[in-house]
C-alpha cells in the first residue's frame, strides 16, 4: 500500500517569535518539521515495521526551506518525496486542492496530516484534503489499526474520545499520543541525501492566489504583574487570596 505523509516546516516551538512591520519576522529562526506531522511519518514507518508492504511518500507544499524538513522525513524512513515549491502563503483550503491533485496522481491508500499546524494554528488541511479527495477522515487520531480494506482509529472529540472505522482510502490527522517519534540516525541522514526528492512548481496546479490573505500580524503581548508572593504556605496563601480579592479583583 502507498502512504503519503504531508509535511510542513515551522519555527521550533522554543524559538522566539518577533514581528516586524511586514508581519512575523522569521529571520534567524530555527525551523523544524512540524511536530504534529512527525507523528504521521512515525506511524507510516510503524505500519511498515508491522509487516505491511508499504511505500511511504513525503509530500510538502511550501518554500525552498521546507527541503530540510523533507530530508528529515526521508532520514526517518520515507522512501521518496515530492515538494511543491512556492513562496506564496496559500490558505489551507487552496493548499488542499493542490495536494489532492498530487495524491490522486500517486493513488495513495492513506494520507497522514498533522492535526494542527504550529505556524497558522490551523486544523483545516486534513479535513479539507479529505473533502477534495472525496475520502473519509479521522481528526486528532491517537490510535490507528489497519483491518483489511478498513482502518479503525481512536480519536479525540469535544468531550472525550471515540473509535471510528472507515473504508480506505482515508485521511488521518495525527497528534501527540499516537506514537513516540524516533530520531533520525546519522547513517540514515546520509542515506536520505540520495533518496528521490521530486520538485514541482505550484504553477502546474492552477492554484490561483488563494481565498484568504493575512494582512497583519502582531506579537501577542499582555502586561503581567509578575509578583512573587513569599512566606510559609499559610502566609503565602493568605497574601495571595488578599491580592486576588483586593488587587486583581477576581475572587
Amino acid at each position: 500500500m502507498k502512504l503519503i505523509t504531508v509535511l510542513k516546516q515551522v519555527p521550533d516551538a522554543e524559538a522566539r517569535i518577533r514581528a516586524g512591520s511586514g508581519g512575523v519576522d522569521l529571520d534567524g529562526v530555527t525551523f523544524v518539521i512540524d511536530g504534529m506531522d512527525e507523528y504521521g511519518v512515525e506511524e507510516a514507518i510503524r505500519l511498515r515495521e508491522a509487516g505491511n508492504d508499504v511505500e511511504i511518500v513525503a509530500l510538502a507544499l511550501g518554500p525552498a526551506r521546507y527541503e530540510e524538513a523533507i530530508r528529515t522525513a526521508l532520514a526517518l524512513g520515507a522512501d521518496r518525496a515530492i515538494h511543491v515549491e512556492t513562496d506564496t502563503d496559500l490558505d489551507p483550503i487552496s493548499q488542499a486542492r493542490v495536494l489532492a491533485q498530487v495524491v490522486q496522481h500517486e493513488g495513495a491508500d492513506m494520507v497522514l496530516v498533522g492535526g494542527k499546524q504550529a505556524d497558522w494554528d490551523s486544523a483545516a488541511l486534513g479535513p479539507a484534503l479529505a473533502e477534495v479527495l472525496g475520502w473519509p477522515h479521522s481528526d486528532w487520531t491517537t490510535k490507528l489499526e489497519l483491518a483489511g480494506a478498513n482502518v479503525t482509529v481512536e480519536h479525540d472529540t469535544d468531550d472525550g474520545h471515540e473509535s471510528l472505522t472507515m473504508p480506505l482510502p482515508a485521511v488521518i490527522t495525527t497528534q501527540q499520543g499516537l506514537n513516540e517519534p524516533r530520531y533520525p540516525t546519522l547513517p540514515n541522514i546520509m542515506k536520505a541525501k540520495r533518496k528521490e526528492l521530486a520538485k514541482r512548481s505550484l504553477d502546474e496546479f492552477g492554484a490561483g492566489s488563494g481565498l484568504t490573505q493575512i494582512v497583519d500580524q502582531q506579537i501577542q503581548t499582555r502586561e503581567r504583574l509578575g509578583k512573587m508572593v513569599e512566606g510559609d504556605p499559610a502566609t503565602a496563601a493568605a497574601e495571595l487570596v488578599r491580592l486576588l480579592q483586593n488587587e486583581a479583583k477576581v475572587l
Partner: protein, 320 residues
C-alpha cells in the same frame, strides 16, 4: 443570508450557540439570520428564541455527529436558506466539518476567529497563530461563500429575541455520508462546571507526582472556587486525568478571569491554551520554571503544601 450551525449536546443549546448568534447578528447588521440545529426538535425550539428562522435537523444518522454526515446536512440547509456565510463554533466538531463545508461551497475559510467584521465576500477576521503567540488579521479575497469558525468563550452570549419559526429538514444522506462507523465512545464525567465555560480554572501538572495527589489538591480547590479543572498533556498521558481536561495546543483553549497553574512547568504548548487568561497564578517549586514568566502572582513552593493552604484561605475568604 447568514447561517449558523450548532449541535445540541444532551439536547440543549451549548453556550457557544448563543455566542454564534451574537456574531451572526453583528455580521448581518439587521439583515436576516438563520440557524441549523443538529439535535432534537426541542433544541431547535430553544434556538427559535434567538433567531427568526431555524432549521431543525434531528435525523438519527447525525447522532453521534460524524463529519461527512454533518457536512452534507449543512450543505443542504445552506442551499435551502440561500446562505453564503456559514458560522460554526471552533470546537473539535466545527474544526472537522468547517473545512469540508468550505470545500463544498467553494468558500473561503476563516478559522477560530476572535473578531470578525465586513460583509459577505469581504470579511476581515482576527485570530491567533504561531501557537497563540501572534495575533493576525486575515481577509477573505475569493470564493463564492465564507465559512467562519468562532473561538468559543470570546463573544458575549446573545439576548433572546423570541418568535422565530422552526422548519424541520430531513437530511438527504447517501451511503458516502454515513460510511464512517462510530464504535465505542467515552464522554467526560460531568459534575463540575465545564472547563470551556468556567470563569475560574484550576490547572494541574506533573508536579503533583501522582493522580491521587492531583485529585487531593486540585479538586477541593476547584470546588471552593466553582472552577473548571484543567490538566497538562503530561498528566493526561500519564493517565491521571481524562483528555477532556487537557489545555494547550492539542487540547482545549481557555481564557478565564483566573487561571491557577499548580505544578505546571509552562511549556509553550500548554501556554498556547491558557495564555489569554485575565489573571494567571502559578505555584511551582522551581523558581526558574517558565510559567513564572507569564504570571501575575507566583508562589515558589510545593503544591502539596501551598495548594491545600490556598484552598483553606479561599474558603475562609469566601465564608466571610
Amino acid at each position: 443570508m447568514i447561517l449558523l450551525v450548532t449541535t445540541a449536546p444532551g439536547g440543549n443549546l451549548p453556550k457557544s450557540a448563543r455566542e454564534l448568534v451574537t456574531v451572526a447578528r453583528q455580521l448581518a447588521g439587521g439583515g436576516p439570520v438563520a440557524a441549523a440545529v443538529i439535535g432534537p426538535e426541542s433544541a431547535a425550539s430553544q434556538m427559535a428564541e434567538y433567531v427568526p428562522q431555524v432549521y431543525s435537523l434531528s435525523a438519527a444518522e447525525l447522532e453521534p455527529a460524524r463529519a461527512e454526515a454533518v457536512t452534507a446536512a449543512v450543505q443542504q440547509v445552506a442551499a435551502q436558506a440561500g446562505a453564503t456565510t456559514v458560522l460554526m463554533a471552533a470546537n473539535r466538531l466545527g474544526q472537522s466539518v468547517a473545512p469540508r463545508v468550505a470545500v463544498r461551497l467553494n468558500a473561503a475559510l476563516l478559522e477560530d476567529v476572535i473578531k470578525v467584521s465586513g460583509t459577505a465576500g469581504a470579511y476581515e477576521a482576527v485570530r491567533y497563530s504561531y501557537l497563540s503567540r501572534v495575533t493576525e488579521t486575515v481577509r477573505t479575497v475569493g470564493g463564492d461563500a465564507t465559512v467562519i469558525t468562532v473561538k468559543p468563550n470570546v463573544f458575549p452570549v446573545a439576548d433572546a429575541q423570541p418568535g422565530g419559526s422552526v422548519t424541520s429538514v430531513a437530511p438527504q444522506l447517501d451511503a458516502t455520508a454515513t460510511r464512517v462507523q462510530v464504535g465505542q465512545r467515552s464522554a467526560a464525567t460531568g459534575g463540575r462546571v465545564k472547563l470551556e465555560e468556567a470563569g475560574v480554572v484550576v490547572g494541574g501538572g506533573r508536579g503533583f507526582g501522582s493522580a491521587e495527589a492531583f485529585a487531593q489538591v486540585v479538586e477541593p480547590m476547584a470546588d471552593a472556587l466553582n472552577a473548571g479543572v484543567a490538566s497538562t498533556r503530561a498528566v493526561v498521558d500519564a493517565g491521571w486525568r481524562p483528555y477532556a481536561e487537557q489545555v494547550g495546543q492539542t487540547g482545549k483553549s481557555v481564557a478565564p478571569e483566573l487561571y491557577i497553574a499548580l505544578g505546571i512547568s509552562g511549556a509553550v504548548q500548554h501556554l498556547s491554551g491558557m495564555n489569554r487568561s485575565k489573571v494567571i497564578v502559578a505555584i511551582n517549586k522551581d523558581a526558574d520554571a517558565p510559567i513564572f514568566r507569564i504570571v501575575d502572582y507566583g508562589v515558589v513552593g510545593d503544591v502539596n503544601q501551598v495548594g491545600p493552604a490556598l484552598t483553606e484561605a479561599i474558603k475562609a475568604a469566601k465564608g466571610s
